[in-house]
Subunit: 166 residues, 6 copies
């Protein structure tokens, strides 16, 4: 009964993440979407906000649960009795970084098997960073994230703008 983790910063969750999560849920008995609680990356949203958005976005997809984790993903594997790490494979730059991560994880935990899935081709070039950049330039991000995520991104950016932080 294989269990998988789908780790990420989800800052914020996009249609690309949702697409991968759905595909993973069809292959595994249980998939944990693991929201990384890593303060180093300097995310736009707090971990609680990112958890809330991920939960709302993945609600209704069977066998998926959203969790928060602070630490190495290989330790998270042990804790949740998971054996696989799900990663979306989008584009070339991804590929190298993902390979590096996957070999490092396997190095630290022999049983850590990274499983790469491809998103729908319309999400091949989508990522959270670009979504935030477009929103900062007041572009419409409605094609990239669900409506309630769009609202939260826009509200957050308005707030930062008032504080002269963007």
């Amino acid at each position: 009964m294989p269990v998988a983790l789908y780790p990420g910063t989800f800052d914020p969750i996009t249609y690309g993440h949702i697409d991968i999560a759905k595909r993973a849920s069809k292959m595994f008995n249980k998939v944990y979407a693991v929201v990384a609680d890593n303060p180093n990356k300097n995310p736009l949203f707090t971990v609680e906000e990112r958890l809330d958005m991920a939960r709302a976005a993945l609600e209704g997809i069977k066998k998926i649960e959203v969790i928060r984790y602070n630490g190495l993903i290989v330790n998270c594997l042990d804790e949740y009795e998971a054996t696989s790490i799900i990663r979306g494979l989008r584009a070339l730059s991804d590929f190298e970084y993902e390979f590096q991560m996957a070999f490092t994880n396997r190095n630290m935990n022999k049983a850590a098997e990274t499983v790469f899935l491809m998103p729908n081709e319309k999400y091949t070039y989508l990522n959270s960073t670009m979504v935030k950049e477009i929103a900062k330039l007041q572009g419409d991000i409605g094609k990239f994230v669900p409506e309630f995520v769009k609202e939260k991104v826009e509200a957050k950016i308005r707030k930062l703008r008032r504080k002269k932080l963007v």
Copy 2:
């Protein structure tokens, strides 16, 4: 109960293929190693020889069965009630070709989900073509394929050499 196909030419099967097959067998209820019966590729071995070697090499790995298929892998998915296609992801050139194949397969069969697994890093740069080239130059391929495959490759090449075909 997900079922997966692991298609390839397996001309001949290498330790890299065996490594991926083992990894896949831990994730799926059933994995069919699908030996492609494609005369276009001009393989060194006949499809029967490739089947025999693959069967011998994968014997003893639970839940794996070696089959022969002549046609599109997406049709094979339907026939064997499989939903996933396993591919080993080795190096950059792979990546592009594999993406192209995976999108094409999904285009022809919406349910076709390609799952990329990474071999052990010592097999990252191993492939059947290089194995055959080394054997033709009378190098030792014992690190790349099982002993009985090595013998068959060497015998085949001796035979071709006598006929002045290599």
Copy 3:
């Protein structure tokens, strides 16, 4: 009044080629789709067949004309008083080859400017070789080429099959 060449083997023309040709036609006063008459590449179709299919597929797109050329594209530039070479940029492997071609062309003709255009993302991984492989395995290529091209590809392959050539 810039004039551009869009060279290729077009063996056969696909929706990806048509997409690029349309985009080019909006930018240039005249675009010549140049069907290469190179017997080395061992195409499935004769140059006349490839010309016919390209003409039928590009008919009705303003400012595009299909021509046949035997020789270096940089000489063709001079002959047709063109200054730009159009190339569709699809995927990584393309990129390297295209760069090589483009620098070589510029090296031989200083005025040769290669212009890269991106096809619609649904054609990012489409190419003629894959179309032919799918057809040989009796898959449906209707999503990749126009109906009359599909018929010609299938007829050609049936013919080769009767002669035991595929």
Copy 4:
């Protein structure tokens, strides 16, 4: 009568940018070099300084005008009645990022056509970041930027050095 935008940070403009701008000017009726007014990227020069240098460097090239823009490039397209976005294609890492940008722009504005041009091969590996790094290490950047840009870069870095900021 196609009009094109050539957007960038131009921090500072290099011979690579100038080379691409010249090539574009031969293909389009009008090319706007668009200096991005994006405070997020933390440029070395103010937008006014970057505009001044770009204007001085591109002066005398027919049909080119330097403008400043704050917002999404797809909105700038509408405002200037342009249909094409010019991008220099230098190296692999570029390629991926540029593809992502180009698909995102097309996603937001269907008419947004990105046109990739190759710089002279001697500028293939040149970019503004490396120019600034070399200048910080007191290397000679005279081969990479025009004389008056070199002076401004060196003056700016001397100023930052006095403030202990580099």
Copy 5:
């Protein structure tokens, strides 16, 4: 009697660096491991700490000497009468950046010859940044760096943690 420089930030030195340094020492009469004194990169360790770790790690390898340098590597070449720059070539992203650096160095100093060596394949995906990230998440970095480096990294991170800086 060729002399080579092996420049890097060495923040901290890893088994990958040590592997490359050993390989270089077999090819050159003298190899200087050049610890870059560049405050811009915001290293975890001071230049003195990085020098100390590099010296301890490379002690006992013949013909290697660890030096500190502040400036362009091409000037360092002149100063130490070296002609070659050693670089480890690990993965794709490396490749592009390294090419850019190597051409830039050659541009500034015609005699600057960059020599790329491959580390043992088990270090193909290892770099200092990943080592530090793992240590911050309290993972064991004992497989990636010598014991005394591991202790220093862990001590440094404990110190930063007490100051709430990681």
Copy 6:
């Protein structure tokens, strides 16, 4: 006293090969340019012709000797008491193949150290295959190969043309 091999098909030798050979000769005490006697690759020139052209092209470069070898390069290393294999690193596709070769060689002979050198940037995209293709299309290859090589390539192609082989 390190000795290096510079293996290749040299079908025919180009300015790119000559450039790399010169660079290698400055680093090693002796460099053997190894012309591979591999009938599988179906070269345009016989091994004797390729040897003759390589010898003429590399004549006068100190410490370089042209040899012929039939077999694995790792065996050639032993025979000539060499420890390094020189490879020119040109472009991305090269990189992957070269890595694969280098790891395979090291796998078969632990002491086999592959040393990658970069050609002059004007040769970055040059290779023998493109030279032959241009010559077949009656383009001028004088920028890519020495005059006497150009004459031999043109004579060879005229001969093949008379026999209707190109």
